[in-house]
Symmetry: C2
Subunit: 406 residues, 2 copies
């Protein structure tokens, strides 16, 4: 008999009929003798509706009040699930963020969890209650309502699982697990049975959308096993846990693809010390996050510096670099929004060479030019022209032996 | 410069456009130098929507969870008004029931306010904030969310006004004050400028709907002046305050009419001690509230006992009395759902005789039979046949000199 945290996303609680299905699943786990804590998101679409209502008041609603408004979404689903369970004769009780004592900093709209006093949750569990907690919300040290930002309910779930030392944190969603790549791009994508935190983090930051990065970071820090699975089937999903856990040993676990970046190249930068800082510091000062950076070898006393920024910041970054070019006497600045970043991710890469070579030759065989490359211990990313992205993903998926048998 | 509590009902905050109008009114009061605390209801219709959503889950949703669900309505409007004020450059801050420390008992769905720790409100006021509080909700000693029952926001407003020793509690609603009678029935109804708590209590319990009885009881207990006025005009409304306050001295302040009762008569009850108890005790045991009771003079060793019950309980009460009739050997039971209770209310009656006589003769002049009579120090009620109700109201309104000059 274990302690199990179950988190259900917005599509799983989209109406009272689906909430009834969630209740049945929760009840089944409870009947098996487990202690069950349920974390809920708002009904699908509700958070967006609230944001759009606030936007009729002003363009940028004050953040503290926005959090008070948004917190109603999860409050609603938590109350509805608890009353559904009670109508089925199960002892259930809802807790809001402040009642579950999810203490956060006061960064309204994007608060970070500081700690969770699990006393009340634990007392309720000892009395054999099913505890239903509104996800996405907490309270700061002054008792203000805070929210954790988009996808924050995953983080709530993992943090609460850590606080009560749960055996597993089950994340129910509308997909049935983490896939080797996006099944919409590659029909041969395969569900991954088991993946390490670090791999999952790379997958998430490189474009896989199934789990919020912050929740995986939290899970890694407190060693909470996550089970990502579908709320619409009984099938096992994907286990996300520490590297030491028993898992399939593949060289590469997955292929990701992101189209969220743009590339900027400053050409003809004088080959003098401090020039890279002069090119990049103004970007950082504007709060724009640079991902990849590449500097060419010097030629004729100058070199080229290329880097990627989020596509949403492309225009601002280009304007900054135009001013930089004038200031440092570079040749010019060139930008490209039509790029994609394709990555291979795998813990197995740590102890194997040849992954990069295989990636480059696979892309070459498809006549796809590589514009930029970045690597870490467990991933290699290549920037390519956007229109080749899907082809690249499929080719790499096959080359690294990830295709399913179907 | 005073401390002013302003409470706005559901129709006043029905959408973000109306919330903006509320914000302008609040801002005007603030600009005049007053400290302002605003109490809000949920948007018109929202509470009913939430109840109907819960009813798709089960017939009688568990009450604690129902309160969690319902509390989202006022949370939404409080956040929206605060962000509207902030967008207009006013320092505003929303507080939920638990943050404003509105402590109640744990009678979920119909909780009573025990006390309010006004420290946080007072600190915010001293910092010249506009404090926006979600009405209708509080928290019990275990930190559970509670709600105060229908119309509870009026009670929230008066209780908070008492706690912070406000100079006045303004109740903004969709009518512009308390009228001498229902203007829909009598076109000559006149707005009352000033009315005593006790009169208002009688008016409310006898059918006037403008203020919740509990809020008036609270106001009387803590001597909080209430100003009932329209949120759609700038006109003065009706002041509700203590008898000692300066007010118009009229014999009768208003005429009320209620069609919520039914009359039951048990005929031929043996004229023996204890028979009235045998007739009425089973009604009380069934939780049915009896309003008027009349026992006729004995004739031929029996008498008749008549009483009124809420019309919603009529059937249940009739079934009970049919069993009583058999048990005590009475002649039979007769019921009538088509009755109305017409009342005249006025503190002036305390020191004047002749009000009853005038009421009876006025009804007689219209050929209206009086079926039952009840009186208190400041009201006289007559039960009549329902179809004469409007005629009776108009005749009494004229007879007691309440007609407006229009």
């Amino acid at each position: 008999m274990g302690v199990i945290v179950q988190k259900f996303g917005g599509t799983s609680v989209a109406d009272t009929e689906r909430i009834r299905n969630v209740a049945k699943r929760v009840a089944k786990t409870y009947d098996a003798g487990h202690d069950v804590v349920v974390i809920l998101s708002a009904m699908a679409g509700v958070t967006d509706q609230l944001i759009s209502m606030a936007s009729t008041i002003c363009e940028r609603p004050e953040k503290r009040e926005m959090d008070v408004l948004l917190a109603t979404g999860e409050q609603t689903t938590a109350a509805l699930l608890a009353m559904t369970l009670i109508s089925m004769k199960y002892p259930a009780r809802s807790l809001m963020g402040f009642q579950a004592e999810v203490r956060t900093d006061c960064a309204f709209g994007n608060a970070r969890i500081l700690d969770i006093h699990a006393d009340r949750i634990e007392v309720l569990l000892r009395q054999r209650n099913i505890v239903v907690i509104a996800g996405f919300q907490g309270h700061d040290c002054e008792g203000n309502i805070t929210t954790l930002g988009r996808g924050g309910s995953d983080t709530s779930a993992v943090a609460i699982a850590a606080a009560i030392k749960a055996d597993v944190c089950e994340i129910y969603t509308d997909v049935d697990g983490v896939y080797t790549t996006d099944p919409n791009i590659c029909s041969k994508a395969r569900k991954i049975k088991s993946i390490a935190y670090d791999e999952m983090l790379e997958m998430a930051s490189l474009g896989a959308k199934v789990l919020q990065i912050r929740s995986v970071e939290f899970a890694k820090k407190y060693n909470v096993p996550i089970h990502v699975r579908s709320s619409f089937s009984q099938e096992e999903g994907t286990m996300v846990w520490s590297e030491e856990a028993d898992m399939e040993r593949l060289l590469v676990s997955g292929i990701t693809c992101s189209k969220n970046d743009a590339r900027i190249m400053v050409k003809g930068v004088p080959d003098q010390p401090g020039m890279a800082a002069k090119v990049l510091a103004p970007i950082a000062e504007a709060g724009i996050v640079v991902d990849m950076i590449i500097q060419s070898s010097p030629k004729n006393g100058t070199n080229d510096i290329a880097f990627t920024v989020p596509r949403t910041e492309y225009k601002a970054a280009m304007e900054i670099e135009q001013r930089v070019v004038e200031a440092i006497g570079a040749e010019g600045v060139y930008g490209d929004e039509s790029i994609a970043k394709v990555s291979v991710v795998g813990i197995g890469m740590k102890s194997h060479s040849g992954v990069a070579a295989k990636m480059f030759s696979t892309l070459a065989a498809e006549n796809i030019n590589i514009r930029m490359i970045s690597t870490s211990e467990i991933h290699i990313s290549c920037v390519i022209v956007e229109k080749y992205a899907e082809l690249a993903v499929r080719a790499l998926h096959t080359a690294f032996g990830l295709d399913s048998d179907l």
